[in-house]
């Protein structure tokens, strides 16, 4: 068991681009679920629209990468309006069912044979982010310390993604300390009370849905760029569930909750993966109990268990405040 290697890999994952991408998506979800009390189970659809908005713009339409950003954001707003219009007036669980359905619709359509000319079908698209890497100001070479090493390309993605996380977190902080943010929280606590004070609850919920969706879309941009490829099945429903695990772990309705949650989530996922793999490789765990492919599966078993235990015993997460999570369906 090479502990230096295991801890190094975990640390790399905790500060890597995936952690930043999921932090972005989780910040959006935190706005929905944590601050407004909206049960959005289709956050992955917003990520998928970002990723596909970008890649289709470049790979299919042949436009510049920078055009993909407004296109992706526009798609995201459209989806949020489409989802919100029928459901935001209804009970919270209706939004849950509709959003999860919408996220599967986006994936099914993107992977369908009839869309192969646009989205690449089940193969997806790749090699569309060269323009992003062309503006990389970091000179070539390897950066880091010990076993934590990043190439100049990876470091550029990481820097931009975490930079976006910082900017958006600051934005959420300012918004949540504004009157607008206080209305959102009051809707979460008691929708009828907010309505009786003359607030247009429907409109506030819609604004929250659109804004949080946009953050998810920005996460989708960075996901597509960091992988230089998009594949429809990357954007399936479990991704949304990971975002929930992240915000509940970090602390619901906390500005830095999703950020810390994402770092711990990816660090832990990587830690269990490398540690179990090494334990299996070194023979500490007999292959009759667990083999190489089962390592990957066992960490999802642990993820499910962790999500349940957290929600039962510490629903406020690490940074949370119990008073902030008086979540309940009315």
């Amino acid at each position: 068991m090479n502990w230096e290697f295991i801890l190094g890999r975990s640390l790399s994952s905790a500060i890597g681009s995936d952690a930043a991408v999921f932090a972005l998506a989780a910040i959006g979800l935190n706005l929905h679920f944590g601050y407004t009390g909206l049960l959005n189970f289709g956050q992955v659809a917003f990520m998928a629209l970002g990723a596909y908005g970008l890649s289709v713009t470049v790979a299919t339409l042949g436009l510049s990468l920078w055009w993909g950003i407004p296109i992706g954001l526009a798609l995201s707003v459209t989806l949020a309006l489409l989802l919100g219009l029928p459901t935001l007036r209804l009970r919270a669980d209706y939004l849950a069912i509709v959003t999860i359905a919408a996220s599967e619709i986006v994936r099914f359509v993107a992977r369908s044979v009839s869309m192969r000319g646009v989205t690449g079908g089940s193969f997806g698209l790749s090699g569309f982010a060269d323009e992003f890497y062309a503006v990389n100001p970091i000179p070539g070479g390897s950066y880091g310390f010990g076993v934590v090493q990043f190439s100049a390309r990876a470091l550029w993605v990481i820097a931009v993604a975490w930079g976006l996380v910082a900017i958006i977190s600051l934005m959420v902080y300012v918004l949540m300390h504004s009157p607008w943010g206080r209305v959102l929280r009051s809707i979460r606590e008691d929708e009828d009370a907010a309505r009786s004070l003359g607030k247009n609850v429907y409109s506030y919920k819609m604004q929250s849905l659109v804004l949080g969706g946009l953050f998810g879309t920005i996460g989708g941009f960075m996901y597509a760029i960091s992988q230089q490829s998009v594949q429809p099945d990357t954007y399936s429903t479990p991704v949304t569930f990971y975002c929930y695990a992240i915000i509940i772990l970090g602390g619901t309705a906390r500005v830095l909750g999703p950020v810390l949650g994402s770092m711990i989530f990816w660090g832990l996922l990587s830690f269990t993966d490398t540690a179990l793999r090494q334990a299996v490789g070194a023979g500490y765990i007999p292959t009759a109990i667990m083999d190489g492919t089962q390592v990957g599966q066992s960490r999802f078993v642990l993820l499910g268990l962790g999500l349940m235990l957290l929600m039962i015993f510490r629903p406020q997460g690490i940074l949370g405040d119990r008073r902030e999570i008086a979540l309940d369906a009315h």
């Binding site: 069912i97 066992s298 369906a329």
Partner: protein
Amino acid sequence: MIRILVLAAMGCVLLLPATAAQAQQQEGGEAIRGTIVQRPEEGDPVPVPGVDIAVTTGDGEDVGTVTTAEDGSYALELPGPGDYSATLVAETLPEDVQLTDPDRATLEFTIRPGQSRPLLYPLGEAESVGGRFAAFMSRALQLAVEGIKFGLIIAMTAVGLSLIFGTTGLVNFAHGELVTFGAIAAWIINVTFGVHFFLAAILAMGVGALAGGLLDRGLWAPLRRRGTGLIAMLVISIGLSILLRYSFLYFFGGRTRPYGQYAVQRAIEIGPIGIAPKDIIAIVLSLLVLVGVGLILQRTKIGKAMRAVADNRDLAESSGINVERVILFVWAFGAALATLGGVMLGLGEQVSWQMGFQLLLLMFAGVTLGGLGTAYGALLGSIVVGLFIQMSTLVISPELKNVGALLVLIFILLVRPQGILGQAERVG
């Protein structure tokens, strides 16, 4: 350009008198020749003039196109022996004539040295409007039967989901895993222990009911006592769903596996539709089970109590119903039905670790369509969803059939959020 030249050449061939053609055959020239006729059900065959037949070599190289003459005859010299393919250009047929089998417009054949071969194109009468309509109707009928079967499976699994929601308010995202659990339990009893499929299915229902009851007693009842919120419970059910799903993958593996009996069955023809005997049994059995469910809900004391708790928990409790006991029963009952649904699904398309999860959204669609929290609504909504999914492949590509169902779900929420059988009340 080439095509025009070829057509010109064809004209020459057609002008050749029959005797010359016969002479050519004696010289050993390879050719196709024959007569295109339509054979009505009564009366003499009618020649069909002016039909194009395009011929290519086996490698796809163009040989030529020949058009039938006034008497329906055609002949085309071929460059030599070998593989050829001839396509009857369906657009050149008269409007009231059609190939009896549209898939056989292209024939592939081998020409031996000196062989002159006729091509067989069976033509039918008046397929144009009535026949196409009949074909469409028989396909629609076939899909309707498949849709009903699928809808009944969804219905069986959705009753539990709806009753659990009705009695406890929980949107159980782990309900799909109850379906998978049942299917896998039946598979283990059936294949590992070698018990016959029918007995295995019944035993699995018992195991499923036990698992459902244990889930309620071990997890959900304590959470209800702690006063855990509904949204927190919903997130817990998602955690449970992930935990169970990947446990199935861990222990059962990623392969799909068939049951020991009835895995493959030849379809029997009933009128215009083909259906496997196991599907007939599945449909009949599902109907019987669902009628039984209806009787339990309508006639028995516990069934009435279940509906009472689903309708108004506080009122039921104050009129002396032991609500916790009813909820326990709902879990066991719902899980047993989910098990049966999983077994039937596994019979049709084998057992896999995420079969239930893939069904979950369709269950939601059925339950929402029928009216959240009502048992009969779930039945009706699910059958509509199953029918809709299968029938929609008449017009849209089969890979998008679930998209259609989910879009309908969203549309229903837009116009009638309380569902077909739900009470019109303010929801939200």
